[in-house]
C-alpha cells in the first residue's frame, strides 16, 4: 500500500551531521550497554502553578519500539509526553521536578539546552500543524535551522528521504511547491512526521496523532508508525485502546496523574493487574 523506500536508508543518513556531541557518546555507549533504555524517569512531577498534575512517575522507555500512553481525559498523558522534549518549559506556569535520563543523561540538568534536545526528540501534535509554507519548506525548515545540509542538493535529498519515510513522497512529489496546508488531514499529519524525521531525531513523540483523521488515514498512519519503530523510539498518546493494542509494544496506563500500570501491551490488555486498568480497558472497549 505504501511505498517506503528503505534500501537507501543508511547511506544518506550517514551524511547527516550528528546534533551535538551527546549523540556520539550515546552511540558508543550503545555498543557496550545494549540494553540501556532510551529514557529513565525518576520521580517526575509536573506542577501547573501550585497544582501537581503528575505525581512522581517512574518509568523506562526502550530504545526502539512504540510505547503507548493511555488513560482517561485529564490524567496527564499530554503533560507527561511533553516532559520528554521539555515542551512544558514553554508553558509559563509549568514546572518539572525529578530526573529524566536520556541515554543516561539528565535532560533537566542545568547545562542541557532544551532547543538542542528538541532536535533529538521530535514531536507530532494532535492537530496537524504544518507551517503555512510549501510542502518542501515545511520539511526543509528543520534541516535548515540546524545546518544539516550544506548544499541545495543535500537539502533536496533530505526532503525526499523524509517524505519517503513518512509515506508521503508519491502523493506530493509533483507538487512540492504547493502549500502544506492544502493537503488533507491525514497527509498533513504525515507531512509533520516527515518534518520531524528530517531533523534526524532519535525519538518521536506523538500526542493523539490520529484523533483528527478518518479510519483510512489512521490505518496509513499506524502502518507508518509500525515502519518507524524499527529505527526510532516512539511514544504515543492515544484514546483508542485498539490503536494502542495494534501499534505499541509497551503500554502505560495513567489515572489522575499517577502511573497505575506499565507493562507489555499484550499483558496490559489481556491480563491487567490493577482494577482501575481493567475498568478503563473494558469500559472503553466494552
Amino acid at each position: 500500500m505504501m511505498s517506503l523506500n528503505t534500501q537507501s536508508d543508511e547511506e544518506p543518513m550517514a551524511r547527516f551531521k550528528p546534533v551535538g556531541e551527546v549523540i556520539n557518546m550515546s552511540e558508543k555507549r550503545e555498543e557496550t550497554i545494549a540494553v540501556q533504555p532510551k529514557f529513565q524517569c525518576r520521580d517526575v512531577r509536573v506542577f501547573y502553578g501550585d497544582n501537581e498534575a503528575l505525581h512522581g512517575i517512574d518509568i523506562e522507555v526502550a530504545k526502539t519500539g512504540v510505547t503507548a500512553l493511555i488513560g482517561p481525559s485529564g490524567c496527564g498523558k499530554s503533560t507527561f509526553l511533553r516532559v520528554f522534549n521539555r515542551m512544558n518549559d514553554t508553558i509559563p506556569t509549568a514546572r518539572v521536578t525529578g530526573e529524566v535520563l536520556m541515554d543516561g543523561e539528565n535532560i533537566y540538568a542545568k547545562h542541557v539546552d532544551p532547543v538542542l534536545l528538541r532536535a533529538r526528540v521530535g514531536m507530532v501534535f494532535q492537530k496537524p500543524n504544518p507551517f503555512p509554507k510549501s510542502i518542501y519548506d515545511n520539511v526543509a525548515y528543520g534541516p535548515r535551522i540546524h545546518g544539516l545540509a550544506t548544499t541545495n542538493d543535500e537539502l533536496d535529498a533530505i526532503v525526499e528521504k523524509s517524505l519517503k519515510r513518512a509515506g508521503l513522497w508519491n502523493e506530493v512529489k509533483d507538487r512540492l511547491k504547493d502549500p502544506g496546508t492544502g493537503l488533507s488531514g491525514g497527509q498533513q499529519q504525515r507531512l509533520v512526521i516527515a518534518r520531524a524525521i528530517a531533523v534526524n531525531p532519535e525519538v518521536i513523540l506523538m500526542d493523539e496523532p490520529a484523533s483528527a483523521l478518518d479510519p483510512i488515514a489512521t490505518a496509513k498512519l499506524e502502518e507508518l508508525i509500525d515502519e518507524l519503530k524499527e529505527k526510532y523510539c516512539i511514544v504515543i498518546v492515544t484514546h483508542s485502546m485498539a490503536q494502542a493494542a495494534r501499534v505499541s509494544q509497551k503500554t502505560a496506563f495513567f489515572h489522575l496523574g499517577y502511573l497505575v500500570e506499565y507493562d507489555e501491551t499484550q499483558a496490559i490488555f489481556t491480563n491487567p493487574k490493577d482494577q482501575r486498568t481493567q475498568d478503563y480497558i473494558t469500559g472503553r472497549t466494552g
Binding site: 546534533v19 522534549n85 515542551m87 514553554t90 509559563p92 532547543v115 538542542l116 534536545l117 528538541r118 532536535a119 533529538r120 521530535g122 514531536m123 501534535f125 492537530k127 500543524n129 504544518p130 507551517f131 503555512p132 525548515y141 528543520g142 535551522i145 540546524h146 502549500p179 502544506g180 496546508t181 492544502g182 509533520v192 518534518r195 520531524a196 531533523v199
Partner: protein, 434 residues
C-alpha cells in the same frame, strides 16, 4: 413539572409558542435597531460628503481672461538694457492696467478704470507678465496674448455665488463690472479652465492664486519622517514586549502606559514636541522633521497595539511546531510569527500613519502653521501641512476661501481613503491563503 410529561407538549404548548413569538420579536427589534443605526451613520456621512463636495468642487475650475498685453518698452525697460534683474522690478502693474484699458477704450473715468482693473487678478496677472519677461527679455516691445486669472470676485460671480439681484451696495461687484464681465464672457474672452494653480501653487493672500502644493509636500515630508521613525520602533517594541519581555511589574507598567498613550489627546504630543524637540534639542520651528517626529510619537502606541494583537492572532500551534523541531524561541518568532503577523502589522501601521496625516493640533504647537509661500525642499525648512492649511483657510470668511477649504478637505479625504484602501488591499494580498 406537571405539564412536562411528554417532551412534545413542552415545545408545543401555548406558553412555548408565546416564548417563541417574544424571542422572534426581540430578534427583529434588534435587527431593526441595527439597520437604523447603519442608516443613520450612512446618512450623516452622506450629508458631510455632500456638503463638502458641494462647496468644494467649484474650486477645481477657475475663470481666466484672455488678454492682449503690449510690453511697452518705455514702461518695462526705459533704459533699454534688457537686464533681467532690472526688468523684474519694472512696473508690470501699469502694463496690465494699460492692457485692460485698451480692451475697453470707452472707459475714461478714473474710478471706473480702477473698477475695470479689478476684473482681473492684479497680482496674478502682473506676476505672469513679469515671469515671462524675466525669462525672455527679448519679449520687451512685443504684444503677448496672456490668459490671466480673473479676480476672485469675478470668479465667484461667474460661478453663480454672487446674487445679481441684490442691491449694488451690498454686492462685491458693481453693475458696471457685471456688464464688462458678461461682455467678455459672451465673446469668449473669459473662459473657465481646470484650476491647476490649486495643485501647483503654495499659499497666497489671493484666493485665485492660492494652492495646496506647499502643504501637500510638507505633509508628505512629515509623514515620511513619521513612518521611518514609528514603524521600526513600534514594531520592534511590540515584538519585544509580546515575545521576549519578562513578565514583571515594570513591563506591566510599560504596557499600561502604552495603552494610555494611545488615548492621549494629540495636542499634548504637540506640547511634548515643543518642549523636547524645539526647546531642548533646539530643532527648527515649523519644520517637517519636527512635525514628523511628533506625529511618530503619536502613532507609536497605535502601531504597538496593532502589532501586538497581530502577533497574538498567530496560531500557537505554528510556534509549537517550530519549537518542537528545535527552533529557538527567537527563531520561532522571526521565522514564523512575525511573517504571519506582517499583514496585520502593515495594516495597523498604515492606518496609524493615515490618522497622523489628518492631525492638526500637534503641528500647530510646533509652529507648522506659518504662512509659507515656498514649496519646502528639505526636512528642516519651514513648511505647512494639509490639515493646517485647511485650518488656516477655514478662518477666512470670503466665499472663495470657503470653496478652497472644502476642496483641500476633498484632497485630504481622498488621500486618506486611498491609504486605507491600500492597507486593505495589502492585507488581502499578503494574507496567506493557505
Amino acid at each position: 413539572m406537571s405539564q412536562s410529561t411528554s417532551a412534545a407538549s413542552v415545545h408545543n404548548s401555548d406558553q412555548a409558542l408565546k416564548r417563541l413569538k417574544a424571542r422572534k420579536s426581540a430578534e427583529s427589534r434588534f435587527r431593526f435597531f441595527g439597520i437604523g443605526a447603519i442608516f443613520a451613520a450612512v446618512l450623516m456621512l452622506g450629508w458631510l460628503l455632500n456638503s463638502i463636495v458641494g462647496t468644494g468642487y467649484t474650486a477645481f475650475y477657475q475663470h481666466y481672461m484672455t488678454i492682449d498685453v503690449e510690453l511697452t518698452e518705455s514702461i518695462v525697460d526705459p533704459d533699454g538694457v534688457r537686464d533681467p534683474d532690472e526688468l523684474r522690478k519694472a512696473n508690470f502693474r501699469k502694463i496690465m492696467q494699460e492692457a485692460i484699458y485698451a480692451r475697453f477704450p470707452e472707459v475714461t473715468d478714473r474710478k471706473e478704470k480702477i473698477a475695470l482693473f479689478k476684473v482681473i487678478s492684479a497680482s496674478g496677472a502682473t506676476d505672469q507678465a513679469r515671469q515671462m519677461v524675466y525669462q525672455n527679455p527679448s519679449l520687451v516691445g512685443e504684444t503677448l496674448t496672456l490668459s490671466v486669472p480673473t479676480s476672485d470676485d469675478v470668479d465667484q460671480l461667474l460661478k453663480g455665488y454672487i446674487d445679481r439681484n441684490a442691491p449694488e451696495a451690498r454686492r462685491k461687484v458693481t453693475d458696471q463690472q457685471i456688464a464688462w464681465v458678461d461682455a467678455l464672457k459672451a465673446t469668449g474672452e473669459i473662459k473657465s479652465k481646470f484650476n491647476w494653480t490649486f495643485f501647483t501653487a503654495t499659499d497666497s493672500r489671493d484666493p485665485e492664486l492660492a494652492g495646496i502644493a506647499g502643504a501637500v509636500v510638507g505633509s508628505l515630508m512629515a509623514l515620511f519622517v513619521a513612518f521611518v521613525v514609528s514603524v521600526p520602533v513600534g514594531v520592534g517594541a511590540a515584538v519585544y514586549l509580546e515575545e521576549f519581555a519578562p513578565q514583571n511589574r515594570f513591563t506591566d507598567f510599560v504596557e499600561i502606559n502604552i495603552n494610555n498613550l494611545a488615548a492621549v489627546p494629540s495636542i499634548v504630543f504637540g506640547l511634548l514636541g515643543l518642549a523636547v524637540f524645539l526647546n531642548f534639542f533646539g530643532m527648527p520651528r515649523s519644520a517637517p522633521l519636527v512635525g514628523g517626529l511628533v506625529l511618530a510619537l503619536m502613532t507609536l502606541p497605535t502601531i504597538i497595539i496593532a502589532t501586538r494583537s497581530a502577533l497574538r492572532a498567530v496560531s500557537p500551534s505554528i510556534v509549537d511546531g517550530a519549537l518542537s523541531l528545535g527552533a529557538s524561541h527567537t527563531q520561532a518568532v522571526f521565522h514564523h510569527k512575525v511573517p504571519l503577523a506582517a499583514p496585520g502589522i502593515l495594516t495597523g501601521s498604515i492606518i496609524g500613519i493615515a490618522q497622523a496625516l489628518g492631525e492638526t493640533a500637534p503641528l500647530l504647537m510646533i509652529g507648522m502653521v506659518a504662512f509659507v509661500t515656498e514649496i519646502p525642499s528639505t526636512l528642516t525648512e519651514p513648511a505647512s501641512a494639509l490639515p493646517v492649511q485647511i485650518f488656516l483657510w477655514s478662518d477666512s470668511a470670503e466665499r472663495a476661501w470657503a470653496e478652497r477649504t472644502s476642496a483641500a478637505i476633498i484632497v485630504l479625504l481622498t488621500v486618506l481613503i486611498t491609504m486605507n484602501a491600500v492597507a486593505i488591499f495589502l492585507r488581502n494580498k499578503l494574507e496567506r491563503r493557505w
